[in-house]
Symmetry: C2
Subunit: 888 residues, 2 copies
């Protein structure tokens, strides 16, 4: 540390601004404000390095005090011209210290001069205030004791507020407070110098108490952080009106709009306006009128103060690219700023402030992009419960998919569909969901499940569908037989009873609750435009239908990174053909059933290609094991048997034949394509025919990207590519048209990652399927993990849920190996990520650092991904690891 | 290629031996025999390089022929002193060519001199033999046509064999054969030189035919392999007795014992003794008497020939370290060797031959160890069906666990246990098995399952238990309700009907079938001793009980590499306590139930430690998900509820609560230890108490190695180590004894492999659990894969079943990464492998190359592993990658 860095700093016009690292954040900002020429009382700052040994620093402090006395033209403890000072804590990271001690320097010696200068009443008030705050802050007397004394005095005097106390009553109160100190074994110093050094020592000691340290740890302030101390000339806030203290906010905390709001309390010091002892007023006439208050605002009491504050806030914004709240004191009409701290703001306000600061040139667009936490945007993208609404909580679960929605309960996917068909809203409540419930989930407005974790099927599908969803609501018991949802408090909810699902908070509420809608307009839209201009990586959406694709385009997705074709088969009218295919006795019968599915699949792809007009569309071939398409219950099996006109015993036999112990690790993904080539052939044909059709209609070529799932050996890719090429040749021969297409691999088994080099030789692109890759790297089932992952995270076994944020040490590590190997074989192979992680900012940063070409995520997370990708690009550039941006 | 390598080579005493690569294997071995001084007719060999263009090579061939004529003191085609020669194919890899053409040089010109030398009858016989073999071999006439002509002649002459034909009749036969050639548009050359060159050209052309190439491919002979040709002076085998031809085997093909056996046919040439036209005799009196033959043996016809052959075989063994079968011809009492080829042998014979060759110094012990394929030993280690037994096949499945056993059928584990309790044998037939069937499998003599692959639960457990087992017997249908096993041919088998399971062949046979027992004695035992002296790696056994451990020690296992503690809980009397634990409402109740299990576990470990006296014992903490310990059926649940005195609804609720979609990826392994610390604590206590007890009893310290399963994060290890240390401290305090123990990690998730560096910082040892690691690297469930892996291997998607032989490209790759990282952090950390692969030779070689410290496998595969480990050590040394051997 340099001599300068450890030296005592000065706050005032013409002084060098101080650094937060050495002198704490409060001193740093305040010195900036003073340097800008704003009215700030003169002060010196003892840096943490000196506070650590105050005795040793005493000569330096004495010298600084002398200088301060010179600047203030008054002397501490002087009987004729006494200086009063405050001692304020200034810590790194802001806040975190004990309360400031004000009015130091009021003694029996200085009282007469103070009385002469401010009047007897103010002098007595200053005296009893110092005794109180010094007693509590420096001598260890319980603050409550002094409050009781004050209340007693007010009660005895018959006044509502301390301002009503007479000079004599204040004197008596001071006496009572001194007695309290003596009772506690303390002694109030009558020497002003002792007061100052005592106050500094007390704040330094308080900072090191275990309780203070715990508090700092909880706030994420590092262990070795030291406290600096500000010694500042007092501005009284008492005496001749207008005098008082308050806080000014230059922007609306919720919206970020530039409107001056705040609190002001006449005849007050420090933070009294916020403490609630007396009712403060507001700053402006406008705010007073909106709130319907009668007490005159500060503007009406002292218009100059409001002008000064508005102007100061504005100048600070421009100068430092930040919006500050200002603590201020008015002394006989003169306003002084005692603290300038970055203003609190909602996520929405943060966006607006960042954008407006950039627009006025206070910060760069790059800086504006970095200012907004992408994760906070999530709340923006869905309706949420109105902040002042009453919540009648009946179950707390996990916030699986954000957004809030109210509606009548249904207990089966079928009932949800029936409701949707009849135009009625429905909230679908289930124990858990499976693929066959997807139609029902689509039909419902919101979903709640009793079981499941953040990455359960219900959570994933709901996020994909953009449906508010709460999972793992253990407080609720669903008795489907009785058709009742039982809350732990004994209340029962039947089908049709209205509840509200708050996916943002993971709560299920009784009844209908007011919500506020999402918006991507104004500053938010501007910020995302800037993000698009900045980011290197493409952002695509995981979308399975034309409708999904339209939503995704609405969020400016640059293509589809994952279309899961199996979801199409669960739609009404298709599941039967699918089941016919599964029940087929031989290849010929299977081909017949597939022929019935072909036109439907083709139509699906026509919709997709049209919606994405010209943008890339990655279509994943059928992935789930076939048994997922069969019903489970006896009744459903009987129904299916009747529909297909086969004996129910045959349905059961086939189901038993296909059943698997670990479906996740079973006959699925490309293994199905190998076992039943005709299925993938049908899908390839549907893709090519749809591409021809849309190309012919739009006059624009369509270039589908066919993705092979669950590859574990390069030979799988070779075999399936051959099948797909054969179909392409057939379609080309039939239609006389050439469809350009790519065949790529979804890297989701560790083996595919390890063999990525030779896979890259054969594949046109790679896309990491990080959901399954995470399952396999950890040996952890997404659907089963929900029960113990929270406990694991709580015990610190995993630092976070790896299905939510990419596990960089394991999953990321094998992705790095894969990327390295793939690029060694083929430096220009496009690489993407299409798991749920594609919408997670941390994971997106990893993708940028790994040089991926794009990420793909749920449509509703596309805006988050756009911003996160831009931030990742900026950070990489700043780290010196930036990459060239290629045309997307 | 050097001039020398492509040049014509010579076979004869004093000649340089020829290389198989240039002159083919037949010529190489024969030149070695001649060089050794054994009687071999003089011959020159045209290498493949010259055979490729015979025209160009003609001058060289003519020169060689002149030299051969000089050596044989006769001239091809000479009217006074004619030379006869044969042309024989000599190919790399042995065999594979068209038949040799003999007696070249018999023409109208040479016939008189031949008649003068050998008699008219022999001369005529030679003539018609040449016409026949030349017509078939060089002129393209169907060989059958000549055979019909021969049969006609014999029939007309009224004789049983061609030797009965008179000179005139042979002449007529020759005429008939010449007519056949003319009918086919050919012409038999009367010039001896034309005959020679025609024969050579014909063999060269036949070698290149697509059919011949296909045959070579099927035998694994490389594509570019060329044919060499041997031109050799004829030894007739006809004429004055004793004359004839035969084959001699110096050792018994099945046992490897040194006993001369073979076939000999008087008045015969080449391989006629093996062709079955006439009945040959045997070589020795001893063999004749054993077989009860009346025809005099060669020994009785020409004792000198037998002495010469026995001596020749013996000298060849010593000289070349190999046992050869000899093709020979006797001409008027003089024996000549025409071919020496490595003798066919059974696995058992291979062991004995290798050991005896090493014992007599013909090969090194190292070479003997490399000669025996460890995989072939498997059949040695179990009883097998007697070779001559009749097999009444009722179902073909997969050979899951070798050995053959007969017994009455049972259709439930309970019935198998009841049978065992009553001392009755039982063969357990099930659809599939699960952990709760293990007791029944233990009680049964053999197991068959209708479903499942080579690595299904049934197969794994059966291999571990050393029980013969056939899985995936699709031909059989098990109707448990009706209590009947239905064969595809309509036969029904009820409980009690006797069947035989042949685990070596994967067959289920009706009735009882005779078996022959295994043995590890004699040469086999010697070989394994040598292997133990040679190998660097330790070989441990996977053993779960004291009984298993005793079997393992019988096979010289050097410790236990994996004791699966869960198997202990399925034993009668324990499963109830286990279920009580699972049903416990809180930790206290769980601890009470665990207290009941503690003494049982302690006894288990006492048994293990005693059986392994002083050897290391790796105990894996509880691994399977808890729901595996609950019953599945309604009836069993009701029974359990009654036993535990809880309502059946509670049992069902708990089962539903614990049920998992993918149990393999669920709440198992160390996750159980984290969720329910008291379970691992009980197990640790049982281990430490047992160690104290056995140490006190034996006076020898016991050092248990505790292994944590399914680790995916280093923090899991840290937490569980802390629990274990606490228990160790408690036991130490209670008993006043210090138990030394190690805590290691089973590396079975890809993440653990990737984080092996930091895991090695915390773990005392690492052991790769390659079963689960393979499942996770491939994304492939062991229990479900059986249905498509065979198809995958057939289509070449996987080169082999990765659950059988380690997948080096994927699983091996991540193991290499893990080993590298672990050793980088801690170079001396012991690393082992304890999956099924520990008994697979290829996988063991990988472990040696990776520098592992030991492998661990099923007790019954320990001998295989011992040999394979020795081979791996030798091969590594030869590759220059050998490692120092450390004391095991």
């Amino acid at each position: 540390m340099t001599e300068h860095a450890t030296g005592i700093g000065w706050i005032g016009a013409g002084e060098e601004p101080l650094a937060a690292e050495t002198h704490g954040e409060k001193a740093a900002w305040l010195s900036q404000a003073a340097a800008l020429g704003l009215p700030v009382p003169p002060a010196f700052v003892i840096p943490a390095a000196l506070v650590a040994d105050l005795d040793a620093a005493r000569p330096a402090i004495e010298a600084a005090l002398a200088e301060l006395e010179a600047r203030a033209e008054a002397r501490l403890g002087d009987a004729q011209n006494p200086l009063l000072v405050s001692v304020r804590p200034s810590a790194p990271g802001g806040g975190g210290g004990a309360p400031a001690i004000l009015n130091i320097g009021v003694t029996q010696v200085t009282l007469p001069a103070l009385a002469a200068r401010h009047g007897e009443h103010v002098a007595r008030d200053l005296y009893r205030r110092l005794i109180q705050s010094y007693g509590a802050g420096a001598l260890g007397v319980e603050g409550e004791e002094f409050e009781y004394a004050l209340y007693d005095a007010m009660k005895y005097a018959g006044v509502e507020s301390e301002t009503g106390l007479s000079t004599a009553e204040l004197d008596e109160l001071a006496g009572a407070c001194l007695a309290l100190i003596e009772d506690a074994g303390g002694a109030f110093p009558q020497d002003a110098g002792d007061q100052l050094h005592g106050a500094m020592a007390a704040l330094a000691v308080a900072w090191l108490s275990p309780r203070a340290e715990l508090r700092r740890t909880a706030r994420g302030i590092g262990e070795g952080a030291g406290l600096s101390l500000i010694v500042q000339a007092m501005v009284l806030g008492l005496g001749a009106a207008p005098s008082g203290a308050g806080i000014a906010h230059p922007r609306d905390e919720t919206s970020g709009e530039k409107v001056l709001t705040g609190r002001y309390l006449a005849s007050a010091q420090g933070e009294e306006a916020l403490m609630g002892l007396r009712t403060p007023t507001v700053l402006t006439v406008a705010e007073r009128e909106i709130k319907g208050l009668s007490e005159p605002s500060l503007e009406e009491q002292c218009a100059a103060a409001v002008t000064l504050l508005a102007d100061a806030a504005d100048r600070l914004e421009v100068a430092f690219g930040e919006s500050f709240s200002l603590e201020f004191t008015v002394s006989a009409g003169a306003t002084q700023i005692l603290e300038a701290r970055p203003a609190r703001r909602s996520a929405r306000a943060a966006v607006r402030i960042a954008v407006e600061l950039a627009e006025r040139g206070a910060i760069s667009r790059e800086e504006a992009l970095l200012r907004v936490d992408p994760a906070f945007l999530d709340d923006h993208l869905h309706p949420s419960i109105a902040p002042d609404a009453t919540r009648d909580l009946i179950g707390q679960g996990l916030p699986a998919s954000p957004g809030a929605v109210s509606g009548p309960l249904v207990f089966s996917p079928g009932a949800a569909e029936a409701a949707a068909a009849a135009g009625r809203p429905a909230i679908l409540a289930l124990i858990e969901t499976g693929p066959e419930d997807i139609r029902g989930m689509h039909a419902a407005l919101g979903v709640l499940t009793v079981r499941g974790g953040m990455t359960s099927h219900a959570a994933l599908v709901a996020r994909g569908l953009g449906r508010p969803c709460v999972v793992g609501v253990k407080d609720l018991e669903l008795d489907r037989g009785a058709g009742v949802l039982r809350a732990r408090d004994g209340r029962n909810f039947n089908e049709g009873d209205v509840v509200t699902v708050d996916g943002g908070e993971g709560q299920v509420l009784a009844g209908r609750v007011e919500t506020v809608p999402p918006e991507i307009t104004g500053a938010f839209a501007t910020l995302l435009q800037w993000a698009d201009a900045e980011r290197r990586m493409g952002v695509r959406a995981n979308a399975d239908t034309g409708a999904d694709a339209i939503v995704a385009r609405g969020f400016n997705a640059e293509g589809i990174g994952l279309c899961r074709t199996e979801h199409m088969f669960f739609q009404r009218g298709r599941i039967l053909a699918m089941r016919q295919m599964i029940m087929a006795e031989d290849e010929a019968a299977r081909r017949r059933a597939l022929e019935a599915l072909l036109p439907m699949q083709r139509d699906d792809f026509v919709d997709l290609f049209q919606a994405m007009a010209g943008l890339p569309v990655v279509i994943r071939m059928l992935d789930p094991p076939l048994h997922e398409f069969l019903p489970h219950g006896e009744a459903e099996m009987a129904e299916m048997a009747e529909s297909l006109d086969v004996p129910v015993s045959k349905v059961k036999a086939r189901a038993a034949e296909l059943a698997e112990f670990n479906p996740m690790l079973g006959n699925r993904g490309c293994r199905i394509g190998i076992a039943y080539p005709e299925i993938y052939q049908m899908q390839a044909r549907a893709i090519f025919e749809a591409a021809c059709e849309v190309a012919a209609r739009s006059g624009q070529p369509v270039r589908p990207e066919i993705m092979i799932p669950l590859v574990s050996a390069v030979r799988e890719l070779e075999l399936l590519k051959r099948h797909i090429e054969a179909v392409a040749a057939e379609v080309r021969a039939e239609r006389g048209e050439m469809v350009e297409y790519h065949v790529g691999v979804m890297i989701e088994t560790p083996r595919a990652a390890l063999r990525a080099g030779e896979i890259a030789d054969q594949a046109d692109f790679l896309s990491f399927g990080t959901n399954d890759l995470t399952q396999l790297v950890f040996g952890l089932s997404r659907d089963d993990a929900g029960r113990f992952i929270p406990d694991y995270v709580a015990q610190g076994v995993y630092s976070h849920d790896p299905f939510h944020t990419l596990d960089l040490e394991g999953v990321g590590e094998i992705m790095r190996i894969a990327t390295e190997r793939a690029r060694a074989h083929r430096p220009d192979i496009p690489i993407g990520l299409c798991g749920e992680h594609g919408g997670d900012p941390e994971s997106i940063r990893f993708c940028e650092e790994s040089g991926f070409d794009y990420v793909s995520c749920s449509p509703f997370r596309v805006p988050i991904a756009r911003l996160a990708a831009a931030q990742a690009t900026i950070r990489a550039r700043r780290n010196g690891t930036g990459r060239d941006k290629e045309p997307k």
